[in-house]
């Protein structure tokens, strides 16, 4: 039987990308700085986020969405810092997508939130394909995981904007090669900004707070350029 070709040219994740774009516009309009967090399981995302929320909550309004396959444990932990925490249980799905984020935001007043963090499911592969509408994506790498993680998962490191090296208090015990880790990050995402932190001791956290405050201030500056169009 003969066949004919039909041209299609359709991005498979178009639906997700369109929704993510709508979310991003909404976040910008409401003045909320939205940061996505990705990492492998056990790299300290929740501990880092706990410190981040507690620190920023001193002078800002903070909220978080946390994705996990199951359990409400992470949300319960984070609620010690702010009541505005929602858990997204993905069931068997290994990543968050824009639709899950949109649904989880229902009835939240974004204009009353300065910083919203979206903690993805612990996974260094799948989340890289899904835009969630976040302004910035942080990829976390713990000192105990080894310095070659960026080389093994280049796609997710490249799709992120900032790298956070966590558990720096354990770096010496784990014989973590920090210069190599930084070299590897720079190899997969040249020029990427890197922070070294320990959520346990609080080491390096202030630099992250300062960075986020600067981001928020920049986002809320009157858009001079935009009026020209």
């Amino acid at each position: 039987m003969s066949a004919r070709m039909v041209e299609v040219r359709a991005k498979v994740l178009k639906q997700n990308d369109l929704l993510a774009r709508t979310l991003r516009e909404r976040f910008r309009r409401e003045g909320t700085c939205v940061v996505g967090l990705v990492s492998s399981p056990g790299s300290g995302k929740t501990a880092f986020l706990e410190k981040l929320l507690a620190g920023l909550a001193q002078d800002s309004r903070v909220a978080a969405l946390v994705g996990d396959l199951a359990t409400e444990n992470d949300a319960a932990r984070l609620r010690r810092a702010t009541p505005d925490v929602r858990q997204i249980n993905t069931g068997t799905v290994c990543h968050l997508d824009a639709q899950m984020v949109e649904k989880a935001l229902e009835s939240w007043h974004l204009d009353r939130i300065d910083f919203l963090f979206i903690e993805n499911v612990g996974n260094l592969v799948c989340p890289s394909s899904y835009d969630l509408g976040e302004e910035l994506r942080f990829v976390l790498l713990s000192a105990t995981e080894g310095e070659d993680k960026p080389l093994k998962y280049p796609t997710i490191f490249n799709s992120s904007d900032v790298a956070i090296i966590t558990k720096m208090d354990l770096a010496e015990a784990a014989e973590f090669d920090l210069p190599a880790a930084r070299r590897n990050i720079d190899s997969v995402r040249p020029g990427m900004q890197v922070f070294e932190v320990s959520a346990k001791t609080g080491f390096g956290m202030q630099a992250v707070f300062d960075f986020l405050h600067a981001q928020l201030a920049r986002a809320r500056q009157p858009q001079v350029a935009a009026t020209r169009a």
């Binding site: 003969s2 799948c126 080389l151 799709s159």
Partner: protein, 115 residues
């Protein structure tokens, strides 16, 4: 393993496309898949077959064309293929490559339909 989610998105999209054209008997789907898309080719082929069961696309073939990672070298002012997926630098001058030209695609390009 998000290849199953990708396959389901593909099937939804093609089903919609088919309906808008009055129903197509799809024999094969051609897909461009970037080497830097984060999607594994073999896993996608496997997931596609599973996801197609009971759908309009049951029994269709998935034909995947892999698109290499290409970066733009500011120093050479040329598109270059980096030495590997984990070393985003120019193979000629060694400059770091900040801009990805191609290699992230997950795109259905055409359908082969029974005439």
């Amino acid at each position: 393993m998000h290849e199953l989610s990708i396959a389901i998105s593909m099937i939804d999209q093609i089903t919609e496309e088919s309906e808008s054209r009055g129903g197509l008997d799809v024999e094969a789907v051609h897909l461009k898949l970037g080497a830097f898309s984060g999607v594994d080719k073999e896993a996608l082929l496997f997931a596609y077959e599973l996801a197609c069961e009971g759908s309009l696309l049951e029994g269709s073939r998935l034909v995947i064309e892999t698109i290499p990672l290409v970066i733009y070298c500011d120093a050479c002012q040329k598109n270059r293929v980096p030495p590997s997926l984990y070393q985003l630098s120019c193979p000629e001058c060694g400059s770091p490559g900040q801009k990805i030209v191609s290699g992230r695609e997950i795109e259905v390009t055409s359908l082969e339909v029974a005439a």
